[in-house]
């Protein structure tokens, strides 16, 4: 196969989007991750979007079993995994039929021809073979006998046929690596490390990878290679990171920098489980992970660990957060610092467990009995989870309050380059625990400082014994109190304490002109799509600015003024308008929503269209 061929032309590109798709068993997530890492190492900015099938493995070859991984890589800053795909790898007919619509006209289509047999076509619902009926003519299509070629490549390593076929994703990777002129080195290192204990597998995977690469280099049909130059990212050391990993790192860093043990009380649930998995693998950082019997035990054990004086965290998603409602009430009443991480997924009820959504903002704000305010902040992307986790802990301890941190399935599983911070640049959270009272005075567990925070006295400290609980407390003493005016005072105090956080965080910034025709207000994981869309319109001279909220409760102090500086306000959300409702109620501003509830992120294109529409109406 390795005949010498003339070097093919290389076309430079600004950016490109590749999607690998195939059956759940085809190793597409691995292919995507490797391609991402390689691109990142090549200096591109990258953004990824893994798209899993619903939890249960569907029968092989069916549409329900299709798994995809999209990588957007670029020579400039990017924030989204891309709207349309430039190159699609489809390992079987089901993958083709469910993904083709996202491939741009004229895009590269790489297909495993061997999978397009009668059964495969039937399972995908094809009446005729698309490889033969001309329906793919407007793509740059490469139907490769991948199964066959791959088996040949790994012959002689003593693998069974099933094992041999498991290498097929490396063949596909090799081909795409060639297409985008990528180095094989990082993946070869990965293979050596991962399969080191089974040399025959390592060798076979290597052979597959090279065979795919060589196929691209050799075969006449593939006549153009593309190259995406390194991006001009701010200088620094980078790595690629997934949202849940970054979140876990942020928690570990926050604990270390505040001198605390880290306790996670959690019950597995998609897409939050990886936080548990990640933290469980870092026990040498004094991280205790407790897989509780349910979400209620998860949050109440978290309350126990918070009372004990350590950094206590619970993490879950929609239905699991619902179960924590009563516990959150206790957390508010006891005024203990802790983090509640809500990785949003498609709802309501069990909903769409593997899909993303932003529909749990109301739940975070209001999903409890009584007047029960909890600060809410949201991360805007995978790498930002690192910072958001630390900021949440800072607020929690400064104000002695539980804090809800919202992310979503898209952020949690997506990845992007992360500029590795200098340790010295990280903000340390100073925590002081009272050590005693003066002159034998009684300890007053609900006496407050200027931020209305009460003292965090930890068990083991002589002289500070006290009792807390869910009944209304008398201010200052913390004794149970049924006094009407004290109750009103405490309801106001708890509300005011949360409101005061607005004084402790930076004022809201706006990206774009300080006033104008349109302001786009976003929160959470839609940051990338909104920022990109606004930039695009700005570049065309549109009078539009972007305001992305990290702090949802309390809202930033200057937000009202900002909103009133623009003629129109657009609030794009992956829900039916939850932030919009909050903004309307708070500022009486007639915000317009752009809402999508399809279990998937916004495309930049649809937002640009919406913005253009609003600008032209004016």
């Amino acid at each position: 196969m390795a005949t010498i061929t003339p070097v093919k032309p290389i076309a430079p590109l600004d950016d490109a989007t590749v999607r690998f798709c195939g059956d759940s068993g085809d190793g597409m997530q691995l292919a995507g991750t490797q391609f991402t890492n390689t691109s990142a190492l090549a200096g591109n900015d990258v953004a990824t979007f893994p798209d899993f099938p619903a939890e249960i493995r569907a029968p092989r070859g069916t549409k329900a079993g299709v798994s995809g991984f999209q990588v957007h890589f670029s020579s400039h800053d990017i924030y989204t995994p891309g709207d349309t795909v430039d190159a699609l790898v489809a390992m079987n007919p089901a993958a083709l039929v469910t993904n083709l619509e996202d491939l741009r006209d004229g895009g590269v289509l790489i297909i495993n021809k061997d999978a397009f047999d009668k059964k495969g076509l039937e399972q995908a619902g094809y009446k005729t073979n698309p490889l033969e009926d001309g329906s793919l003519d407007h793509y740059s299509m490469h139907a490769v006998e991948m199964t066959k070629l791959n088996r040949l490549a790994v012959e002689g390593f003593g693998l069974t046929q099933k094992e041999a076929d498991l290498c097929r994703n490396f063949f596909a990777m090799g081909l795409v690596f060639w297409l985008y002129d990528r180095s094989l080195e990082p993946t070869l290192r990965f293979i050596a490390q991962k399969f080191g204990k089974r040399p025959e597998v390592a060798e076979a995977n290597t052979a597959s990878l090279r065979a795919g690469y060589n196929y691209g280099e050799t075969v006449e049909a593939m006549n153009t290679q593309y190259q995406v130059a390194p991006a001009k990212l701010p200088p620094g050391k980078y790595r690629n990171i997934m949202g849940n990993t970054a979140l876990a790192y942020g928690l570990i860093a926050a604990a270390r920098l505040s001198g605390k043990r880290l306790f996670l009380g959690a019950y597995p649930i998609t897409p939050a489980s990886d936080i548990l998995h990640e933290l469980a693998s870092h026990k040498n950082f004094d991280v205790l992970t407790f897989q509780a019997e349910d979400e209620i035990a998860a949050i109440t054990s978290t309350i126990g660990a918070a009372f004990a004086g350590e950094m206590a965290v619970t993490a879950s998603s929609g239905p699991g957060i619902a179960l924590k409602a009563e516990g959150m009430g206790l957390a508010v009443m006891t005024e203990l610092p802790m983090l509640i991480i809500s990785v949003q997924r498609g709802g309501p009820s069990t909903g769409l467990p593997t899909k993303t959504e932003q529909a749990d903002l109301f739940q975070a704000m209001y999903g409890r009995n009584g007047e029960c305010p909890i600060p809410v902040i949201a991360a805007r992307g995978p790498a930002d989870c690192f910072d958001a986790a630390q900021e949440a802990w800072r607020i929690a301890t400064r104000f002695m309050t539980p804090v809800i941190l919202l992310t979503d399935g898209y952020i949690a599983n997506g990845s992007e380059p992360w500029r590795i911070p200098e340790l010295s640049a990280l903000r340390r959270t100073e925590i002081t625990h009272p050590t005693g009272t003066e002159n034998g005075d009684p300890f007053l567990p609900y006496q407050r400082n200027e931020r209305l925070a009460r003292p965090w006295a930890v068990p083991g400290t002589p002289g500070l014994m006290h009792r807390i609980g869910g009944l209304e407390k008398q201010d200052v003493t913390g004794n149970v109190s049924y006094d009407p005016l004290n109750h009103e005072h405490m309801v106001h105090t708890r509300a005011k304490k949360v409101a005061l956080i607005a004084d402790d965080v930076p004022p809201q910034e706006v990206d774009g002109p300080e006033s104008g025709d349109l302001l786009v207000v976003s929160w959470g994981g839609t940051y990338g799509a909104c920022a990109t869309a606004v930039h695009k319109v700005q570049q065309r001279g549109g009078s539009v600015a972007h305001c992305h909220l990290r702090y949802l409760n309390p809202l930033p102090k200057n937000l009202g003024d900002i909103l009133k500086s623009y003629q129109q306000v657009l609030v794009p959300e992956l829900n039916l308008g939850q932030l919009r409702t909050l903004l309307r109620a708070t500022y009486l501003v007639d915000c317009i929503g752009h809402n999508k509830v399809q279990g998937k992120p916004f495309s930049v294109g649809e937002l640009v269209e919406k913005i253009d529409g609003m600008l032209s109406v004016k």
Partner: protein, 341 residues
């Protein structure tokens, strides 16, 4: 439990908080409180290292009355609160106070899991066979047919037996006592405190307002010697006013026999609280007054087993030993990295 020696010798009153005790006059909870205050000073654990955690119920007001750290949490969740606390702070002595409703109805699952994990905490369940705080609905331990506010025609749920459940959930320490049997109660609480692992103690407690006399058969001076049986490790099961009766095993079934007339102590079942096999403890937990048996009190089971709080912290130590104390810089830089100039 890791016990430190207090420098000063404490008295029971040192363990009383400044809060008025607000149970109904005559409530059995008072007696349990008094015994607890008597036992704690004997354990040598300073007050500040002691934590009481409860759910919701009359019984769950307990922490307010103790001059220790305490959490009056939410209904049924005390074992879970205690778990979080004990995991990060294994140096603390942790008590969980719960009721038959709090512990077995809404909180059954947490109880079960705290017990099976064998965390070193002491769980005391005040069993008054009624919901006291909410004014008189039946509870999971109310007998069949009991008429209460929510069961005007009588309860139809088979009652649960707290000790049977605990033993069904891999308990390492299981005991029972009675609110008014103060010496015995004190002794049992002490044993529970000293057990390294999850201790589960059921206390028969009288709610004189909503279920008065539920345990009279076991408390009445005239009948209690016949209706209860004090377990002693290694000793035969003997009871009765004149210690004239005993329990013998017939196959797998216990039976009451009269001593004498050819039956000697050696024919009786001998108690072995340390039996690795929990079947004996289970069998003892099945002996009910209504079936003609005396109800055992004392320690049913007390065996050593690995403790969750020790193991979870042990894994941390092991990880540190193997991989070194976590280094943030190394963590951040793990995996492939690249530099942009």
């Amino acid at each position: 439990m890791s016990i430190e020696t207090a420098l000063t010798v404490l008295k029971p009153t040192d363990f009383a908080s400044d809060q008025d005790v607000r149970w109904c006059p005559g409530c059995g909870d008072y007696s349990i409180l008094a015994q607890m205050k008597k036992v704690l000073p004997t354990l040598g654990v300073p007050r500040e290292k002691t934590v009481f955690i409860s759910g919701i119920g009359c019984s769950s007001r307990f922490p307010y009355y103790m001059n220790t750290y305490g959490v009056h949490s939410i209904h049924g969740r005390a074992p879970a609160v205690a778990t979080g606390l004990k995991c990060v702070r294994p140096d603390l002595q942790v008590w969980v106070i719960t009721g038959d409703g709090d512990g077995l109805s809404i909180g059954g699952n947490h109880l079960m899991h705290a017990i099976r994990r064998n965390l070193d905490i002491n769980i005391v369940l005040f069993n008054n066979r009624i919901y006291g705080l909410t004014k008189g609905q039946y509870s999971p331990t109310s007998p069949l047919g009991q008429k209460t506010k929510s069961t005007p025609m009588g309860a139809i749920d088979n009652p649960l037996h707290p000790l049977s459940i605990a033993i069904g959930c891999e308990a390492t320490f299981v005991a029972r006592s009675i609110d008014t049997n103060i010496n015995h109660l004190g002794e049992v609480l002490k044993r529970a405190a000293e057990h390294p692992g999850a201790s589960f103690v059921e206390v028969y407690q009288n709610c004189n307002v909503f279920n008065d006399g539920a345990w009279d058969y076991a408390k009445d001076r005239d009948t209690k010697m016949d209706t209860t049986l004090e377990l002693q490790h290694g000793k035969p099961l003997i009871f009765g006013k004149l210690r004239e009766k005993g329990i013998r095993l017939n196959g797998m079934n216990p039976e009451v026999v009269e001593l004498g007339k050819g039956i000697t102590e050696d024919d009786l079942l001998f108690h072995d609280e340390r039996s690795p096999e929990p079947s004996l403890a289970y069998l003892l937990s099945r002996m009910r007054y209504e079936d003609g048996f005396p109800e055992p009190i004392g320690v049913f089971r007390s065996v050593d087993a690995p403790r969750y709080d020790v193991l979870i912290n042990g894994q941390i130590d092991e990880a540190i030993q193997k991989r070194g104390k976590g280094d943030l810089e190394a963590l951040f830089n793990s995996g492939d990295t690249w530099t942009v100039e």
